[in-house]
Symmetry: C2
Subunit: 315 residues, 2 copies
Amino acid sequence: MGTDVDELVERVIAGDRRAMARAISLVEDGAPELEALSAGIYGHTGTAATVGLTGSPGVGKSSLTEQLVRAARSKDRTVAVLAIDPTSPFTGGALLGDRLRMQTHATDPGVFIRSMATRGHLGGMALAAPEAIRILDAAGTDFVIVETVGVGQAEVEVAGATDTTLVVVAPGWGDAVQVAKAGILEIADVFVVNKADLDGAGEAARDLELMLKMGASREAEWVPPVVKTSAATGQGVDDLWSAVEDHRRHLESTGALERSRRARLLAEVETLAAQRVRERIRVALLADEGLAGRIAAREVDPYRAASMLLAGLGA
Amino acid sequence: MGTDVDELVERVIAGDRRAMARAISLVEDGAPELEALSAGIYGHTGTAATVGLTGSPGVGKSSLTEQLVRAARSKDRTVAVLAIDPTSPFTGGALLGDRLRMQTHATDPGVFIRSMATRGHLGGMALAAPEAIRILDAAGTDFVIVETVGVGQAEVEVAGATDTTLVVVAPGWGDAVQVAKAGILEIADVFVVNKADLDGAGEAARDLELMLKMGASREAEWVPPVVKTSAATGQGVDDLWSAVEDHRRHLESTGALERSRRARLLAEVETLAAQRVRERIRVALLADEGLAGRIAAREVDPYRAASMLLAGLGA
């Protein structure tokens, strides 16, 4: 198995598309080879610019992604799109978005497109997405776009696992309170008001700018610009590209890129370690019928039970 | 401090309202007294019937909660309402709902109403809500209603931490795919189509029934009924009350009540234990500047870093 993974790592680093696809499948499955894969590619990562797109269903994220792919290709940069379909924690099923439009790029060797769902393995997308991004990065991709289906907390986490996070809205997409509640104001590096040809686009942009002004009390290093686009016509996509590049330059010139990558990596290590221990805790708890019975009989309260379990694990 | 908590426990068990409020504040704050409090009250819990209400903002959950309070009081049962305002992971602020209508019950000693937010402590609402419910339970409350503000995953978890979960929708509240994605079909014990006086209420109810039929392939023990209500006029509230009581009888007669409570308790213990270890992991990671530097320098990959951390913790 070791040599198989070594070979896969080599092929990924060489930019072999089938190897990239296979490696991402290992991530999706939470396969045991993942550790060796991760160790093998890690030293080759860190050069890709990563961009996350999130926003409610129907705001046009897929069309916008396609426009960004076009823009990147017109500048001769290689692109990968990772379309994340978060699995419901209940059904175990993934709802795949419409990838048909992307078929335009199906024959372009500079474009790699992949949908991904977690199949219920530990940590879910919060761990799978950064690892998949690193595979694309190690393969020499210049520009990795991570597109999420919805805008729940899981999606916010995934889209936030990139250097530059775009939050896409559309006119009439909801009131200020909803945005504030979703916590997306805080993760946006660039706001996109898509479907700018519709009524209310100007208003939506002004609302966002107002909210940003209200939110940015402290001396902000970066104030997220609000860019109006129409992914259908291509209008505003150049401005969006410029905004993404401006943000990148800001990250690089201030050292924020290194700082935020470091912080994200440490958070990932923490999550990984915590998930492993959690698995041990689960096994220990399932094995201890006596303890479970005493909890259910209201003899041992949850806090004490947790202490007893951890003591048993030597932790 | 021990004696203070002992006294608080005694007063909670005696049903002292100020003590109940104080105890819930300790839960909110993640105060160190929590362990002693939990241990003290735990043996007095398990008698309250707990009901969770979740659903999108604007479907009328608060009005429905008030109608349920009325119904319970008309049957001479004591009621507590725990209104959960989930904190955005980013802002740390809580958006409090309008509790004005509840002032009708402000002078009724059989009604206890409390809003709750987590203040960023470990585990968030997933741990705080069950503990707060137990405080109300230990105080001798017959009927505990947990109402969430929205319908995100956190809210689904909180509402699911009850014996009977009501999912509230309103006509025109969204298409089938959205429901399926939110994972709320699976947690509902009773569906409520509120604002039944509006156009489309019958259609919404039929859509739900169809989805339930499609989802319930295996021999389901309980098929969630769909109840139409108008919280504004009180129409259908008796039917809703009956549905809640039917579900309770089902839970008790099949042993499902004991099974699901046991499963929820074990999940809670697992989360508690995992959170504690996670805190230790975080501290160890923060303290290990060398490891952090090697991760950032792409020398040690996240998986290996996690293993090294855990080895260092003796876990």
